[in-house]
């Protein structure tokens, strides 16, 4: 996790923008509000869906401060009671704010609570804080870079204070196996189980009435999906998941990922297309007797060159694909 936190620094510097509002709200339509925390490594999305039977919140951020601010934004959006919270998965940035929604019934996939406690035990923030302190000391005071570093440092310190305060994450009230359907005031929420992809407890949430699909971290916009040969996500699993989502939610007008901009179904299709095209191109390379090094230099997918992480991830994906093939 420390490694992840440190390596995320580059991404942070390129993605986040410091600002005074820690949570911004953007309505997709009259019933769906997307809440975004802009502080931290990257922007984190949560959402609220208003129905005739009350409000359903999807994800609760990591700092209770963020969850409280999100709750205030929801209150500005609608005065209906918050009936349910759905945790898309068991990572800190999506579920540590659960306790703020204490009147709601919290729903997550099996073992979500257990995994949240594991997260708390696993994550150590002292090293990243030290790294940012060093960076802060050398950054030009008042520069944009310095502001971002200080913003990040502030976030990490607040998170660390929380972790050291005896904080215990609030587990879901209901943890379900397989899939489930939640019906509230005539609106149904399809809780689609994808199997472990990004975490052990991933679900996507589709709201057919609003035509909005919430994928959380199953999907990162403007990035090609990174996969692994030995650990999750495996490319075959990833393709299956994208296929499942495209089949079950193909009529979605909006796709809300866990981080980044609000997308459309075509963004999801592009991810599936990348995996399919890569597989076909690498199979061809393999069949024609190319070595891994040759494949890495020859196999490029033109349509995806503009993606933020293409340079960093595409070559690694080829290596992982090769590993799978060799086994």
């Amino acid at each position: 996790m420390i490694g992840t936190l440190c390596s995320a620094l580059v991404l942070f510097l390129s993605l986040t923008h410091p600002g005074t509002d820690e949570v911004t709200a953007q309505s997709i339509n009259e019933n769906v509000l997307v809440l975004t925390v802009t502080k931290g490594f990257w922007q984190v999305n949560g959402s609220a869906v208003s129905t005739d039977g009350g409000v359903i919140v999807i994800d609760t951020f990591n700092l209770p401060d963020f969850a409280l601010q999100a709750k205030r934004k929801i209150r500005e959006f609608t005065d209906k009671p918050i009936r349910y919270v759905i945790n898309s998965h068991c990572h800190t940035d999506h579920a540590f704010g659960n306790a703020v929604f204490d009147d709601a019934v919290i729903i997550g996939h099996s073992k979500c609570g257990e995994e949240l406690i594991g997260e708390l035990e696993r994550i150590k923030l002292e090293d990243p804080i030290r790294s940012f302190e060093k960076m802060s000391a050398t950054a030009k005071p008042g520069s944009e870079k310095a502001n971002r570093i200080d913003d990040m440092l502030d976030f990490l310190r607040r998170l660390n204070t929380l972790f050291n305060s005896g904080f215990k994450p609030t587990p879901p009230d209901i943890e379900f196996e397989n899939a489930a359907i939640l019906s509230v005031g005539g609106t149904t929420f399809e809780l689609i189980y994808t199997g472990p992809v990004h975490s052990a407890t991933d679900i996507a949430i589709y709201v057919p009435k609003e035509k909005v699909l919430f994928t959380s971290d199953l999907f990162h916009p403007d990035s090609i999906p990174a996969f692994k040969a030995d650990t999750m996500p495996h490319p075959t699993r990833l393709r299956k998941v994208f296929k499942l989502l495209l089949e079950s939610c193909g009529d979605a007008n909006y796709v809300v990922p866990g981080h980044g901009r609000i997308c459309s179904i075509s963004d999801l299709k592009a991810q599936e297309a990348y995996l399919t095209e890569l597989d076909a191109a690498l199979q061809k390379a393999w069949d024609s007797g190319l070595s891994l090094e040759q494949a890495k230099s020859k196999v490029h997918l033109e349509d995806f060159l503009s993606y933020d992480n293409y340079k960093a991830v595409h070559q690694a994906n080829i290596e992982e694909w090769w590993k799978i093939k060799k086994h």
């Binding site: 729903i107 009230d173 209901i174 379900f176 196996e177 397989n178 489930a180 359907i181 019906s183």
Partner: protein, 330 residues
């Protein structure tokens, strides 16, 4: 559809004597009660944070009576209701608990409508008309006429009890098991596939040693096996799984009648095995269905409730149909 409805409601009515409309309360522990009433058993589990109610009786009227008893038992809010399956006698009182989160298995509405039709009230009214015609045709004072009169009385009572009935499906429809954490108690909701129906949920509360079985378990009563909805073989497997995994259960609540211990699951499994094997043997030896219904006695169960009211014959017939369907599809 109408045929199915008639069968099922008539069955329920004939199996539920008018006296069963009164609710009898059994306290299993300081925090668990079971109420026997219209449509079988309702179980209530109290936790520090509220109550969990398992099943809701058959009509809004009976569910309201039960709610009064629950309120006398505890002043805590009812947080969750879980339906053990979609049969009327276990969930048609749901509307009385719509302030709680109602949990059931998927396809609830489809299953209810397939079984009872889309308009329950109209179906009861139709049934009353049918019974009235049958009564007109029956010889006055005959056994048949008495039976029909009994059913007619129950049906009219039914219509009264249904009153403002509104089909109230679960808020959360599961496609597998689930676990609820509430006020220091763990409510494990287990699903093992089709047994009594394909919406069966079993509820296990380890802290109380409580196992609530719905109609997967019958205590000294002939089990209701449905020709379309039941799968006796998987039902037996389910009982095996539960015997293995819930051996710490102290209080085992069947869908109807008295609470028992975990040993009742073995008794239930043996009953199903005996019945199933008897029907299977009858088919293998070339008996007709009618002959099988005559010849299979399973006398060791003759003291079971409904044995002498044609329930065993109905079970034989339904197992026969299930086997017939299974061999046709193989």
């Amino acid at each position: 559809m109408k045929y199915l409805f008639t069968i099922s409601i008539a069955l329920i009515l004939s199996f539920v004597p008018a006296t069963a409309q009164e609710i009898t309360e059994h306290r299993l522990s300081d925090e668990v009660i079971v109420m026997e009433g219209r449509g079988g058993n309702m179980t209530v589990v109290e936790t520090e944070a509220g109550l969990v109610v398992l099943d809701t009786f058959m009509t809004p009227a009976s569910a309201r009576k039960a709610r009064k008893k629950i309120e006398a038992f505890s002043n805590k809010p009812i947080r969750y209701v879980i339906n053990t399956h979609h049969h009327a006698d276990h969930c048609f009182g749901n509307q009385v608990y719509s302030d709680a989160v109602i949990i059931g298995f998927k396809n609830f509405v489809e299953r209810v409508q397939t079984r009872y039709g889309k308009d329950i009230i109209k179906a009861i009214k139709n049934q009353i008309s049918e019974l009235e015609s049958k009564l007109d045709a029956a010889e006055a004072g005959s056994e048949d006429a008495k039976k029909i009169e009994g059913l007619l009385e129950s049906s009219r009572q039914e219509l009264d009890d249904f009153g403002d009935f509104v089909l109230t499906p679960p808020d959360l429809s599961l496609e597998g098991g689930a676990t609820i954490l509430l006020g220091g108690k763990t409510i494990k909701i287990l699903h093992f596939g089709r047994g009594h129906t394909d919406t069966d949920l079993v509820i296990f509360v380890p802290e109380e040693g409580l196992l609530v079985m719905g109609d997967l378990l019958w205590n000294r009563r002939i089990s209701y096996i449905d020709a379309v909805e039941s799968d006796p073989l998987n039902w037996m497997r389910t009982l095996g799984e539960l015997i293995k995994n819930c051996s710490s259960a102290k209080h085992v609540v069947p869908g109807h009648s008295h609470v028992s211990g975990i040993e009742l699951l073995s008794t239930q499994r043996t009953y199903l095995e005996n019945l199933w094997n008897a029907v299977k043997t009858a088919r293998e030896t070339g008996l007709t269905l009618e002959q099988a219904k005559q010849e299979i006695k399973l006398e060791q169960y003759k003291d079971y409730m409904y044995y002498d009211r044609g329930a065993l014959q109905l079970s034989i017939e339904n197992c026969w149909k299930i086997m017939e369907r299974s061999s046709a599809s193989n």
